[in-house]
Symmetry: C2
Subunit: 339 residues, 2 copies
DNA sequence: GCAAGTCATGTCATCGATGTCATGGAATTC
DNA sequence: GAATTCCATGACATCGATGACATGACTTGC
């Protein structure tokens, strides 16, 4: 690895002058500039990022911590962050938090040791107070879920509104028995989506029925089983609102295996191939790439102007993509007594 | 940020002694050890990774460069690398190379500035000779494609064998008109898959027909159009071998839009939801997570034992996952003259 | 013609952790 | 009791880039 000193020696100047040339300092004569530049070329000089940022005390790296980098949603978020970061010459270090909330803190602390210049995370635990002491070292932005027990910037989707729209969409198609499938309401995101669901039923003057509320599944497989149970009810749902994309990839095949593609389905969160399934699945799209971009831009803005004030809470709108999975409910939805 | 010096001052020792305590050096009395440790706790000391690795000249970070982090295949590879890296206390910095080969070098050079401890990349250009000068600074491992004009470790899937198996599978189901859709044969991976395709036809004693070779598409959309053209032929294919997963996500919907789900399809590379599409798509599975893991393990092994010799070329086996998309060819495959 | 200003370049210190060597006291050996 | 070894600890230099400040040459103004 050639250093500035190597280049300096070759160009017969001091290391400082090489630094000046490298950083386009105007106080260098054209002559020396030429000499230094050709020395750099000959020695194939590549700056040691780490030395620079070590000195600055802050690296040109944005840390990203999400539940799972391989999840299509977070992979797209990562892409969005990466593109925005690269435009500003920053790199990204990525970490998966997994699904064990108790590991969150130690994973984050490991990431933080790398002297990151900013952190973007989608939390999985319900207490981020441990991050407080880093807040004045580098900006922290939360995505997907708001932080708990910590004041920090966050960008979340409009969970309530999206769920409301999704449910309303089903109702508008004539469905009166609408089930909701999702994970635990202890997850704030899910709680909001559940509230949106209830609000939409309420707005339509409908009662919600406890048996159609199937929250608390752990994963896509569990969600699939829950569907079976729902459809076995005496008075089964004609439509299902899947409150997250990961579960939808379990719910859809389950419906298919049971031969019940007549059941309407709408998913909070788009997922791969949703548009080419039979029937294609209507979704509430969250535009993950955009989420990543705005989060990254906030980090960059906070780095550039630390004093400036920004809005902490940011709700990103979602939009309903209508496909085929929400056909009208069968005309004879209510069991009628024999005439 | 509290430094070792801060801790030292508080514990009334030198920074060096704090360093010793931190690194479990036995030459410290129990008494001082206690004092230092409590000082560390009180000040919430967290080591400055960057200072350490700057001194060492090499960071505890593995660089990953793939065409697109959001692509499900590479997202899964990344996950595999991450898991293996984390077990060894290494972080990962991820970069997307995009699809413009001429940018590869500059993107990689930007990544390299971060003093990475190793590099795992899936190249997109056809010349990696520019990496030669870093080869003795840190280990480099290629995945998915072998490097060009550079000697380095690589782990590739069995492109030839997988393509052979896929094609043979179609033939075994009675197909005699088997088309291949893919990108340019300038891509080594594609070239090998094409050769596997030809070899399988040959092994079955079949001639290949030029009109069924539809290579050179740029993206999934182009591949979709190519399918239309294929099916419009006077003597159209009854089966299609899609030589990469990304294109399959274009080919499948195209067949569906044309109402030609009777056409058999097999994809080199699994893709999300392939198992729940109608019909579900048979694929050659590459196990991306495993690819990531073995690549990371090689990097770690090279770091741990630089002198040891390893096998450069590593071909990972692939396996055929049979689903529904390869039904037998229609019995009346050849147009017959009216009796 | 000389003081003040301008400008190219260099010297030194710094960021935090740690390897190298020095120091000085205690323990051990003959 | 003197010589030797051991051991805890500290002082200093180091990694590479760069900010603060110094230096010395040359220009400008009156």
């Amino acid at each position: 690895m050639t250093t500035m000193q190597d280049v300096a020696t070759r160009a017969k100047v001091s290391a400082k002058t090489v630094s000046r040339v490298f950083n386009d300092d105007p106080h260098v004569t054209e002559d020396t500039r030429q000499r230094v530049q050709s020395a750099m070329r000959e020695l194939k000089y590549v700056p040691n990022m780490m030395a620079r940022t070590f000195r600055e005390g802050k690296s040109a790296v944005i840390g990203i911590a999400v539940p799972d980098v391989a999840d299509p949603f977070f992979a797209a978020v990562t892409k969005g962050i990466e593109l925005a970061a690269r435009e500003n010459d920053m790199a990204i270090v990525v970490t998966s938090l997994g699904d064990n909330p108790s590991l969150e803190q130690s994973i984050i602390e490991t990431t933080v040791r790398h002297q990151i210049g900013g952190l973007i995370m989608a939390p999985i635990a319900d207490d981020q107070s441990y991050l407080a002491r880093w807040q004045d070292s580098f900006p922290i932005v939360f995505i997907d879920r708001a932080p708990s027990k910590l004041n920090a910037d966050y960008f979340v989707e409009d969970d309530f509104g999206g769920a409301f729209d999704a449910t309303q969409h089903l109702i508008a198609h004539g469905h009166r028995r609408v089930a909701i499938v999702g994970d635990s309401t202890e997850v704030p995101t899910t709680r909001l989506r559940f509230q949106g669901y209830l609000a939409a039923l309420d707005a339509a003057g409908m009662e919600h029925s406890e048996e159609l509320i199937a929250l608390g599944s752990r994963d896509a497989d569990a969600a699939a089983q829950v569907c079976q149970r729902l459809l076995a009810l005496p008075d089964p749902p004609t439509a299902i609102f899947s409150s997250n994309a990961r579960f939808s990839t379990g719910v859809f095949p389950a419906l298919q295996r049971m031969g019940r593609t007549d059941i309407a389905l709408i998913s909070f969160g788009d997922f791969p191939m949703a548009d080419v399934l039979q029937p294609s699945v209507s979704v509430i799209d969250q535009d993950p790439r955009h989420v990543g971009r705005v989060a990254a831009e906030r980090i960059l803005a906070r780095i550039a102007t630390p004093a400036k004030r920004f809005r902490r809470k940011n709700v990103l709108s979602v939009k309903l993509i209508e496909r085929q999975s929400c056909q009208p409910a069968p005309a004879v939805a209510v069991p009628v007594a024999a005439p």
